[in-house]
């Protein structure tokens, strides 16, 4: 079953003033367990697409179904709840709550979900160990490197057991070695946790690691290739 299904997505910014057609009919289906890269030149519409898939923005027209729910029908408040329970986010920056430690950041969404203490503790510790930060649990984001912060963000995104994880240019602020390391960790977790990853990137070395590469240009998908590994 598809975790994400879109049909004929259009997105026009500023329709009344200077319209920008960011998406021009995107139909895409993402299956459970995929590790998919959305690529394309700057301004091609990657962020716009990911925001719509994540319920952060709504399309001008078209249909988006996430986990069997038509999210265009949800209210602003229902969307927040939906995101909390179904979608993990990794942003390019400003991912973590600065006043909370790595541990508390990972635990955060689980607390919002009201998961029991024991489960939270086990999962937080396990995930921080999986991203190689078992020794840094009590550090605040400002005491972590950029790569470490992104690893905490990946652990945080996974913790509430979402249906899939959206990462918009998660490596944009990282050097190539750190980027590779982050992608390795994401790949490993995709495999171990069977969680779907969708990420956008410019970086060819990151693209290499994707299992499927969807290329967007001028708001349309121009190629969609499965990568056999």
């Amino acid at each position: 079953m598809a975790v994400i299904l879109t049909r004929d997505l259009y997105k026009t910014y500023n329709p009344d003033t200077i319209p920008v057609h960011a998406l021009n009919g995107v139909s895409l289906s993402i299956e459970e367990g995929e590790f998919t890269a959305i690529v394309g030149p700057s301004g091609s519409g990657k962020t716009t697409l990911l925001n719509i898939l994540g319920g952060l923005d709504s399309p001008t027209s078209g249909y988006v179904e996430v986990g069997g729910t038509d999210i265009s029908q949800l209210s602003e408040n229902e969307l927040i709840d939906f995101r909390k329970n179904h979608i993990g986010f990794v942003f390019q920056s400003y991912n973590l709550i600065p006043v909370l430690t790595a541990y508390e950041n990972v635990e955060f969404v689980m607390l919002l979900q009201g998961r029991p203490e024991k489960e939270r503790k086990e999962r937080t510790e396990a995930l921080l160990a999986a991203v190689g930060l078992a020794d840094h649990m009590d550090r605040r984001p400002s005491q972590l490197s950029g790569g470490q912060q992104q690893r905490v963000a990946v652990a945080r995104a996974l913790a509430p057991r979402p249906s899939f994880i959206l990462a918009d240019e998660p490596t944009a602020n990282l050097d190539s070695h750190t980027s590779a390391n982050l992608l390795d960790i994401m790949g490993k977790l995709n495999h171990e946790e069977k969680v779907t990853f969708i990420f956008s990137t410019h970086d060819s070395r990151v693209i290499e690691r994707a299992h499927r590469v969807v290329t967007v240009e001028d708001g349309v998908i121009i190629s969609d290739e499965g990568m056999k590994r």
């Binding site: 925001n51 994540g54 952060l56 923005d57 408040n77 927040i80 709840d81 995101r83 909390k84 329970n85 993990g88 986010f89 942003f91 400003y94 991912n95 709550i97 600065p98 006043v99 909370l100 508390e104 955060f108 969404v109 607390l111 919002l112 979900q113 945080r156 995104a157 509430p160």
Partner: protein, 407 residues
């Protein structure tokens, strides 16, 4: 909730300097507010107390017409037994029967219109503090026609101790009469109008000169009671005993006292409201800044599933924490300061000439209303609460996508 409290509390300390400045400002505001209100209350009560201990006492019994027209002929008969009747009440601590006449004191140098008190020094010293204010000589000790006046008045008339002064006044028939007195004491009450307008002689002397020799009359019987706050109750309790006289409390005799006492609540309210207004703009400004510099973070929080209710609550909590932290600091500070000044008083002697005009002492003791702390605490809490609403509302109006892409 615990999570929100934790985040909110830590958020305050993110911009340590700013928070400390805001905390300092609120604490200082609380301090200044309470101190000022207590000081002005102390000043007013100082004025009232001085006027009570100088002349009006807590209770005044007079002939009903003497109230309207200060005519010597409106006197109380059997004054001593009326005084004794008053004194019998357990709340009454001291009573003094006064003969009060308007007249003139003259010397070789000049003359002045004065109010003449004919008193029994022993009884009067239980009621007024004039006995303690004698700076030279004694308080009308038995002699031949002794007179006590203020040093100020004596100077104006060119008189000294043992000088002779002539008093002119009406007798009981309405005829002008005069008597020669010798100064045996000089006082300084600290209040210029009183000092310049009052002289004291022995009650029997003035009665003899006015044709009331051996009679038991007085124009005014003044009493001091144990608990000034219950003066109304004591007055109502005593009044029926004197059907032919009028018994008034100090608040009725000096209407400015009653006015002040009834307005103090309103005045405090106004001052507290002004304080709250100043505070609320400070709080809105600070919290708005705190929200606006965290736009991306708030966008991220809403993106990953923190709902609006929680975001709102978080901003509210941050604001309340600022207020709640500043409160004990400010109140603690003011309690300590007030303790000190309640002991030492505040010396205003540099302004003493001006204060003499109004009958205020040189040293004023701040006098906080016990409820002021609660009032101010509630006001600060309320202000923080109200001031938080707009920034918190601003925070939840953010759209996650826009907030996240904000530079």
């Amino acid at each position: 909730m615990g999570l929100l409290i934790k985040i909110a509390w830590r958020n305050i300390w993110r911009s340590r300097t700013r928070s400390l400045v805001v905390l300092g400002a609120i604490s200082l505001g609380i301090w200044a507010l309470i101190f000022l209100l207590s000081f002005s209350r102390g000043m007013v009560y100082n004025l009232i107390d001085n006027s009570i201990r100088r002349e009006i006492g807590h209770l005044q019994l007079e002939h009903p017409d003497f109230q309207k027209q200060r005519d010597f002929r409106f006197y109380l008969e059997d004054a001593d037994s009326l005084g004794t009747l008053m004194f019998r009440d357990p709340h009454v601590l001291a009573v003094s029967e006064r003969v009060v006449a308007l007249g003139m004191v003259s010397s070789a140098k000049g003359a002045r219109g004065v109010r003449i008190w004919g008193i029994d020094p022993d009884r009067e010293s239980g009621v007024s503090f004039i006995a303690e204010k004698v700076v030279e000589g004694d308080f009308l000790a038995p002699a031949r026609n002794p007179i006590l006046m203020s040093r100020r008045l004596a100077d104006k008339l060119g008189l000294k101790m043992r000088s002779k002064a002539v008093l002119t006044f009406q007798d009981l028939e309405g005829n002008i009469t005069a008597g020669a007195f010798r100064i045996t004491g000089l006082f300084d009450s600290g209040t210029t109008p009183f000092d310049e307008g009052t002289v004291m002689v022995r009650r029997e002397d003035i009665l003899r000169l006015t044709g009331g020799d051996g009679q038991d009359i007085a124009q005014q019987i003044v009493a001091i009671i144990d608990d000034p706050d219950s003066v109304g109750v004591v007055r109502d309790h005593l009044a029926p005993l004197f059907p032919n006289a009028s018994l008034k409390s100090y608040a009725e005799v000096a209407p400015e006292v009653a006015l002040y006492e009834s307005q103090i609540g309103l005045m405090n309210m106004i001052v507290i409201t002004i304080f709250m207004l100043a505070l609320i703009f400070g709080i809105i400004n600070t919290m708005l800044m705190a929200v606006l510099e965290r736009v991306r973070e708030l966008g991220m929080l809403m993106a990953i599933g923190m709902n609006r209710r929680r975001v709102f609550l978080m901003v509210m909590l941050e604001t309340l924490f600022l207020g709640v932290t500043a409160m004990p600091v400010g109140i603690g500070l003011v309690i300590v300061t007030l303790r000190i000044f309640e002991q030492t008083g505040i010396d205003l002697s540099i302004f003493s000439e001006g204060m003499r005009e109004f009958g205020m002492s040189e040293v004023v003791y701040p006098d906080p209303i016990p409820s002021i702390y609660i009032q101010v605490a509630v006001a600060v809490f309320l202000t923080a609460f109200l001031g938080a609403i707009y920034p918190a509302w601003k925070a939840i109006r953010l759209k996650p996508v826009e907030a996240l892409t904000k530079i």
